[in-house]
Symmetry: C2
Subunit: 245 residues, 2 copies
DNA sequence: ATTACTTATAGTATTTTTTACTTTAAGTTT
DNA sequence: AAACTTAAAGTAAAAAATACTATAAGTAAT
């Protein structure tokens, strides 16, 4: 690190190097949707500090790794999945948030389809488990706070971006979509009107397939059309499923 | 920092201390509104690197200072203002973004009322100046990218939160408010309809005062009612001035 | 097979909101 | 007092959201 000191000096008589003792970490909030409930993937720590406690999957960022790369690397190490929707939501930097030193952590969240997701416990993780966001254990570090922020971010973003589809299987029925949005927004929709609203957006492709193994009239299956969404956005379309207070 | 090493070891044979050589900085994007244009406050650097270049006001975070405190401290040092709306928007962590070492930076933005704002150049700043966001110089570091993200964040948040009022003087006319939103959203509103929409939200208090020194019928002055907004939010009210594509 | 039952899906009518536009009011300047 | 400028209120048409009804298409039991 001999490129330090070449440039500027601190104004407070603090030696320049003293500013370079931060640790930087990423914490990933992985959301899933199972059994009509929004779930989050937690890991049980097999290392100090907070040994045995549940925590968000996260780790320190190596000095030579980009932040965004680090987030997907951590997630991949823990889940084996690549190329999934992943977004930064907030950075936490309280002085005493980490017992091993001054560590600022950058929060990322991702939405995964439960039909092709299988978590794998990595080296310092004892176990992984999906928890309903309505029934969470006490978490290590300030992860309660981080998770809470992730949930509120998700709940507000989901109104203005079609991210909800990321949580469903590739093929889904309109009622499944409705149930997901009802879980996300904590609001009951009218079935025919929800159908109309979604279909009028012209974001779904109707498949030549229907539900299987149901003891009633099977519903048609749909698929989200990402390309169509990108096209519509260029034309000024704004996804919106805001609900009245 | 002898509380390090007490706990866990890296999994990649990287010594634990090597994770603790990050610098952390904050960069502030201060928005103002002058002459019907959205402006941003930039500072001219009087230190290496990028000596003489325009940059966002920002600085390294001391190891014993909370992140959020640091943001307002930097802003206060540069502007003399306290207690203004300030919000984190994104963290930038590319490996080579800073020539003096590995520095991740957390972006904050604030909206200031031009009628009571007077920037003061601090120690390592040669000059400060308001630039229209439509006519910006090339900035130091990756500050172009940070500023661009701040602008897009502002433009999207302004639709769903009544933050626009922060940019206006305490007392303003409805046409001034309209002009501000037109600048922010790049959209022309119909005057009577904009009035109706805003007034129907019940967020403004009409004062017993009118415009002074205008050569036409003076408009009534209004004031944003923060308390009323907090109350309405509890009842489920959602601020929204989305415009059609 | 026929009937009962369940859920999907289409349709309709009412209400509310948005939009586009017109009119009137209230001040200043000549 | 007349002309001018902008504020502010009003109105009618169009569009969207909402609440509700009816029909269709399947499964399961009789």
């Amino acid at each position: 690190m001999n490129k330090m000191n070449k440039y500027f000096l601190s104004e407070n008589n603090v030696p320049f190097q003293d500013y370079f003792n931060f640790g930087l970490s990423v914490d990933c909030v992985v959301f899933g949707y199972v059994g009509e409930e929004i779930k989050v993937l937690l890991v049980q720590r097999d290392a100090e500090p907070f040994l045995g406690n549940w925590a968000l999957p996260g780790d320190l960022v190596p000095l030579d790794e980009d932040l965004a790369d680090s987030a997907s690397n951590v997630l991949q190490n823990l889940t084996g999945l690549e190329n999934i929707f992943m977004e930064q939501f907030y950075t936490f930097g309280a002085v005493d948030r980490h017992p091993a030193g001054r560590v600022a952590t950058v929060g990322y969240y991702s939405l995964v389809k439960s039909d092709n997701y299988h978590p794998i416990a990595s080296s310092w993780v004892k176990e992984t488990e999906w928890f309903s966001i309505k029934d969470l254990p006490k978490l290590a570090f300030d992860h309660d706070q981080i998770l809470e922020k992730a949930v509120s971010t998700l709940k507000s973003r989901v109104k203005y971006r079609p991210v909800g589809f990321e949580l469903l299987p590739t093929k889904f029925t309109l009622l499944e979509l409705q149930a997901l949005y009802e879980a996300l927004l904590d609001y009951k929709f009218d079935k025919p009107n929800f159908r109309k609203k979604i279909l009028s957006m012209d974001l779904l492709v109707q498949l030549d397939e229907v539900q299987a193994n149901v003891s009633h009239r099977p519903a048609k299956l749909f698929q989200f059309d990402e390309m169509r969404y990108i096209e519509l956005r260029k034309e000024g379309f704004a996804f919106d499923i805001t609900v009245k207070g």
